[in-house]
């Protein structure tokens, strides 16, 4: 049987996976805190080809009657979707509870760039990490993401903002302190401090949807103070880090590669067709 027909098909499937990831990036081009995913393709594990019934084989290298021709890979698959934690653009929104993390200047650790996240708890009480700093205050006075996850403070407790603060003037400093009545020295009060988490290797994060990530097997402590090179920006959000030009180019390229694999498949199909016609009278 012709080997390449499955190889070409595996190429089409892998490229389809990649196209889905690119489409998802493009759909989330304006999602605050979204981190683009890059698909890596990997060849199937190598297999060795052998010639059988080969009388000329050297007896020292191979079993008599067999000789190795070499190795080959029989296809490709989408191995992983790596989220890229590059900083997104900061956009001014003027909303009182919008906060953006800027960690561009964080120093490298062992050649890897750590990343800073907000810590939130989901409805099951589990800790999740997010870069989407678009928050709101619910009727119980808790600071929440728009999906309803409670935002944690630097002690790891949900942030409680009382109602007078929520409806009044609020300022959030570059190290995360939420300050009520910032302009009035007599009433000025630090309500709480937003908790941030430093993740040494962001590639360990597992994407969970709704802009959140989870970390299996590790439980990094919430930072008591911000590391060097990190600051928060109030009344701003971090836009997604998807580059539309690059994504469109990749999508175009991807469709053409998909088409090329289809052409290979068709070529095999033609060979098989000829094979079928051998017996024709």
């Amino acid at each position: 049987m012709l080997r390449g027909i499955d190889t070409a098909a595996s190429g089409m499937i892998a490229l389809q996976r990649r196209q889905e990831a690119l489409t998802n990036n493009l759909a989330n081009i304006e999602t605050p805190g979204y981190k683009k995913g890059d698909t890596t393709l990997r060849a199937f594990p190598e297999v060795f080809l052998e010639r059988i019934n080969d009388s000329k084989a050297s007896p020292t290298e191979n079993a008599p009657g067999f000789s190795w021709i070499g190795s080959m890979q029989q296809g490709v698959y989408a191995q992983e979707n790596i989220s890229s934690f590059l900083q997104g653009d900061l956009v001014e929104t003027n909303n009182p509870f919008d906060v953006a993390i800027d960690d561009r200047n964080i120093p490298l650790v062992n050649g890897k760039k750590p990343s800073v996240f907000f810590a939130v708890t989901n409805s099951g009480g589990e800790i999740r990490y997010t870069r989407n700093g678009r928050f709101t205050v619910d009727e119980a006075g808790l600071l929440r993401t728009l999906e309803g996850y409670a935002v944690l403070n630097n002690q790891g407790k949900p942030i409680q903002v009382d109602a007078n603060v929520a409806s009044g003037e609020v300022s959030i400093t570059s190290n995360g302190e939420i300050i009520a009545n910032p302009d009035d020295p007599s009433k000025r009060k630090i309500v709480d401090t937003i908790g941030l988490v430093l993740i040494q290797n962001p590639n360990d994060l597992i994407k969970e949807g709704n802009g959140t990530f989870k970390l299996d097997g590790q439980n990094p402590a919430i930072l008591s103070e911000l590391p060097e090179g990190v600051q928060l920006h109030h009344k701003m959000i971090e836009n997604s880090n998807v580059d539309p030009t690059m994504t469109m180019t990749n999508m175009m390229e991807n469709v053409r590669l998909y088409e090329a694999n289809q052409k290979v498949l068709q070529a095999y199909d033609r060979s098989l067709e000829l094979l079928n016609s051998i017996g024709r009278v």
Binding site: M12, Q16, R17, Q19, E20, A21, L22, T23, N24, L26, A27, N28, I29, E30, T31, P32, Y34, G37, T39, R42, P45, Y77, A78, Q79, E80, N81, I82, S83, N94, N95, N132, R134, T136, V137, D138, E139, L146, E147, A163, N164, S167, G168, N203, D204, I206, K207, E208, G209, N210, D216, P244, M251, N254, V255, Y258, E259, Q262, L265, Q266, D269
Partner: protein, 260 residues
């Protein structure tokens, strides 16, 4: 199945909703006391595709096992933006403006009781009662309420004058201004008034804001920002429709494997 089609469709839906929000903001750019809304996106649930369970065979991986794939985008809310609008002097004594946080309470008679609604639109007219007084009503006929949730009755023979605290001269009535524990629970009711969907004890009287007579508050819509947003949103919509045509092209290619 190629899920690109569905991902891109969710993108089109979300961008359409954002475009609707922007269109409504632009349409109300001249509506007194109007507060703009801002749509915000969030990624749809991601799933993990386990295509190689044996982690030791996945050489050179940078992330935990499995392929995480997102499924597009959704609008997770249109936040009400409560920035102050620019004051517009009208010299009409019946025009009132709140400076600072809070809303006027206006009421509509529903059977025997008065149902309260909330608005920032302080453009009122006189509505005479038959016993020598008049009430202030907005364009939809909702009566302005005092801080005790009662309609304000003003005698015909006095000069209507409101102090900064909302007290009406020569009467003991005070215009009520309220804030909310969670203003995002305000629901547009049409006619530039809101209904509060939370419980009644989340409505708080406030003394921090002042009332300016002879001014109305223009809407807080910034046209140049809205038009810019509209352009980027439209481009986002186009990107997603381009994704759909790529997905369609790929389906066509798959379809063309078998030549007729």
């Amino acid at each position: 199945m190629n899920t690109s089609l569905y991902i891109a469709t969710s993108g089109l839906n979300s961008y359409q909703k954002k475009l609707d929000t922007i269109a409504n903001n632009i349409a109300n750019a001249e509506t007194a006391g109007f507060k703009r809304r801002e749509a915000s996106f969030e990624e749809n649930l991601a799933i993990s595709i386990e295509n190689q369970k044996a982690a030791n065979r996945e050489i050179g991986r940078m992330t935990p096992n499995g392929v995480r794939a997102g499924f597009g985008v959704h609008v997770n809310g249109t936040q009400l933006i409560l920035d102050q609008g620019v004051p517009k002097a009208t010299d009409n004594p019946l025009d009132l403006m709140i400076s600072g946080q809070g809303f006027f309470q206006v009421g509509k008679r529903q059977g025997g009781s008065i149902e309260a609604f909330y608005t920032r639109n302080g453009s009122f007219q006189k509505s005479p009662t038959n016993n020598g007084t008049y009430r202030l009503v907005n364009a939809e006929g909702y009566m302005l309420l005092d801080k005790n949730n009662q309609p304000i009755d003003i005698p015909n023979d006095i000069d209507f004058s409101v102090s900064e605290s909302g007290t009406i001269a020569s009467t003991n009535q005070q215009i009520g201004i309220v804030t909310f524990e969670n203003p995002q629970k305000l629901l547009g009711e049409g006619g530039n008034v809101f209904r509060y969907t939370g419980s009644a004890n989340e409505v708080l009287a406030t003394a921090n804001s002042t009332i300016q007579q002879g001014y109305i508050e223009s809407s807080n819509v910034d046209l140049s920002k809205e038009v810019t947003d509209m352009i980027t949103t439209q481009r986002g919509f186009q990107f997603n429709s381009r994704s759909i045509s790529y997905a369609d092209q790929m389906l066509g290619i798959a379809n063309g494997i078998i030549r007729s």
